[in-house]
């Protein structure tokens, strides 16, 4: 069986927790191997102060035929840079039919670059993007909890508090386990070990 790669695209001040559950499970599977990628090969420091080494640069990467997914964790850099080369890379991956999973600031980046224009959104999710894009504070809505995550048209998007839901959706798309196993994993981590 060919091991497929899942790329984790790191930027400066990437958010430690957002893709943490997802990559730990994915990389533990025999089907997949997680690799880091960035605009250059300088280690990228997380919000928590971890310097993570980089496996591939965007320019050098050409293993699209063995690529299973691109994951974009959030972080403080997404709002500060235009990252046109990242947008071009995402475009190329999307056109190759490879799913892309983004959380937090990376979701706003996708919206800014028009990648989410043709995806379905719940009203809340769309409003949330728009408020973020306008740089305004979002006024919470009580029913947003159920719409923390949207998966559609090759994109999975989630907000910063949804690391577990983000991971669960990624596992479904990657067919990492059976649906029951994925549900059991989620319940365990959402509600505690011994429930």
């Amino acid at each position: 069986m060919q091991v497929k790669e899942v790329l984790l695209l790191l930027t400066d001040h990437w958010a430690d927790w957002e893709a943490s559950y997802a990559i730990a499970e994915i990389n533990s599977s025999e089907k997949y191997s997680v690799k880091t990628i960035s605009v250059d090969n300088i280690p990228k420091t997380s919000i928590g102060g971890l310097r993570a080494e980089i496996d591939y640069t965007i320019k050098q990467f050409n293993r699209f035929d063995s690529l299973a997914m691109l994951i974009l964790p959030g972080g403080f850099s997404w709002g500060e840079h235009s990252y046109q080369e990242v947008a071009d890379f995402i475009e190329k991956i999307h056109e190759a039919g490879v799913p892309i999973a983004a959380i937090c600031g990376a979701t706003i980046f996708l919206a800014k670059h028009g990648f989410l224009d043709h995806t379905k959104h719940t009203g809340d999710e769309y409003d949330y993007f728009m408020e973020q894009l306008k740089g305004q504070d979002y006024k919470g809505q009580t029913n947003f909890v159920s719409t923390q995550l949207v998966a559609d048209n090759g994109f999975i998007t989630a907000n910063e508090t949804s690391a577990l839901e983000f991971a669960r959706e990624i596992f479904h798309v990657l067919d990492l386990d059976t649906g029951d196993e994925i549900d059991a994993w989620y319940e365990k981590f959402k509600h505690g070990m011994m429930r």
Copy 2:
């Protein structure tokens, strides 16, 4: 104001998610800086495949007067190695009165080396340690959820599904924010952004 250091002790196959929430918030505070430490200065690869660079080796570290806490994430190595030098380092830090926070496999490591003998445990927590030490499967008890975390005698311990509760307790011990702010942070990440 002197910035105090919080050490994250990394071992091979450290668990990506377990200390992720904690270090992101701690390192965002003006009061603290997170640094990585290990038995040597070779980058340590997480379960998820991230290679994190190491700031200090245990042998070289001597900045105990500006040390605020030692955090031990779990991972696959704790059960495979005796890590006597790590146990000696923990002993030194504990004697200096610096709090130590351990989760998952690192908690079992502390128990094995006798660090938790004089801490209070709930019956469930103690039974859980003992079962792990005997290498037996733990038969879940429905009331274990409320005892997922124990903080006592300079040690904070938690199980692998309690990354958020682990972080919350660490924030209290480090006086990172007011109690209300810490509670609000926890509620947001436990139950979703817009609740």
